[in-house]
């Protein structure tokens, strides 16, 4: 994947990298399980300090988008966001029906979980 940084921007360099990975995951360009470049390699290629890349990877880990493992580098764990509008519409109907039937939120959630098994 392509990484770019603009040194003239006000946004810190690590934030620029974080934003690109976020977008990559959301759009599905970075698939679940894909490996991000080794921090040293990416730092060399972009001519930035390796700690800049490591900081970006740590932020991504804290956001749950990548998994950092010794020896394996940064692995993408986030998944692409599918279009959720259909789910949201159906949920509004479900909530209305559940209230009419006097179901508690927990009971409704249990019903959904069981139905999805």
């Amino acid at each position: 994947m392509m990484f770019r940084i603009d040194p003239s921007s006000d946004e810190p360099l690590f934030e620029q990298l974080v934003a690109q990975v976020r977008v990559g995951v959301a759009k599905g360009n970075l698939a679940h399980g894909e490996r991000l470049p080794a921090a040293r390699e990416l730092a060399e290629a972009l001519d930035v300090n390796v700690h800049t890349v490591l900081k970006a990877y740590q932020v991504l880990r804290d956001e749950g988008l990548v998994d950092l493992r010794r020896g394996r580098g940064a692995v993408v764990t986030g998944r692409a966001q599918a279009d959720l509008s259909a789910v949201e519409r159906a949920m509004a109907d479900l909530i209305r029906a559940a209230r009419a039937a006097h179901l508690s939120p927990d009971a409704t959630a249990t019903l959904v979980k069981e139905a999805m098994r």
Partner: protein, 337 residues
């Protein structure tokens, strides 16, 4: 050793010279072995054993003259083939190295098979009692391999050839603001069919070693595993310096400086049709392009100065090609303008 020194000192960057010397070297290794074999004529059985099925005694026999002739002719044909490939397609040092290495290796391999398998039969009255020369085969594979490696390493790298003209017209570029830095990094892993073939070779050679109880032969599958690891995965990197392709083991690797890029494009690669297999390859179309070919499908093709070319199979090659073109253009523009 002398091959390398001669290549380096006497022939420099002459393609024909390098190929000719490596061919002579391969053939003379085979010739020396043939001379040795014929000098043992009086102490060898007639016919001599020429083939061992793997466990126990030999199952193939030939007269000494026929055995020597068969190996000499085989060697001559293969050396001529490898030389022709290097001569007509060896525009880049990488392509010539393949040809030089194969010439030296095949001559040494066939010579060692000839001399080694006859050496163990000296003094025997009947060749059917000859023992399986497992160590001979191992030495025949590894010994010339070392010689070939030395010869390959002494083929000088291509001289720097920065482009004098502009980038080829109409190529894709990445849209980068001036001052913006960018890098494209991708990984490519080897395809299943290649893994299956390599696994079959490893199993077959390991089984042969175990069945014949010649444990020293286990070095052959070990070597194949090492080679397989070397071509199992590569990192492809495009940055301000150009293109770098590096195997997971660190070797083989190749670098194309940005100012030697004429045009980078996306290409569709068929390993068997275009390159005759997987790994570090030379194109079959006679263009002299070299390639790191790991699977079928999308690849990054780079046309470079001095008529050279390179292909690497990798996903997302479109973005990589666009960025490489942009970096090639930047390398041609004096900084600050």
């Amino acid at each position: 050793m002398t091959t390398g020194i001669l290549l380096h000192r006497r022939f420099g960057h002459s393609r024909a010279g390098q190929i000719a010397i490596s061919a002579l070297c391969g053939l003379s290794l085979l010739g020396v072995a043939a001379g040795l074999a014929l000098s043992w004529r009086d102490s060898l059985p007639d016919p001599v054993a020429t083939h061992w099925p793997g466990d126990g005694g030999p199952d193939g026999f030939m007269s000494l003259g026929a055995f020597v002739t068969v190996l000499l002719v085989t060697g001559a044909i293969l050396v001529a083939l490898f030389s022709a490939i290097g001569f007509f397609g060896g525009r880049s040092a990488g392509a010539r190295r393949l040809s030089v290495g194969l010439n030296v290796w095949i001559g040494g391999f066939l010579g060692a098979v000839l001399a080694g398998s006859l050496w163990v039969q000296r003094g025997l009255a009947d060749a059917s009692g000859a023992v399986t020369p497992g160590w001979v085969l191992l030495g025949a594979v590894l010994g010339p391999g070392v010689l070939a490696l030395v010869a390959v390493m002494l083929v000088p790298a291509d001289p720097r050839a920065p482009a004098s003209g502009p980038l080829a017209p109409g190529v894709e570029r990445a849209d980068l603001a001036s001052g913006e830095r960018a890098a494209w990094i991708g990984r490519a892993t080897i395809a299943r069919p290649a893994v299956a073939i390599l696994a079959a070779v490893v199993l077959a050679t390991a089984a042969a070693a175990v069945l014949s109880r010649t444990w020293v032969l286990l070095a052959v599958p070990a070597l194949v595993v090492l080679l397989a690891l070397a071509i199992s995965a590569v990192t492809v990197r495009v940055d301000r310096d150009g293109l770098t392709v590096r195997s997971a083991l660190g070797w083989p690797r190749t670098r194309i400086p940005a100012d030697e890029v004429v045009r980078a494009t996306v290409t569709a690669v068929d390993p068997l049709r275009h390159f005759g297999g997987w790994g570090w390859r030379m194109s079959l179309d006679g263009s002299g392009r070299t390639g790191m070919v790991l699977r079928r499908g999308e690849g990054l093709a780079v046309e470079r100065t001095a008529g050279r070319g390179f292909v690497v199979t990798v996903d997302g090659a479109k973005d990589a090609a666009a960025l490489l073109n942009t970096m090639a253009e930047r390398a041609r523009t004096p900084s600050g303008s």
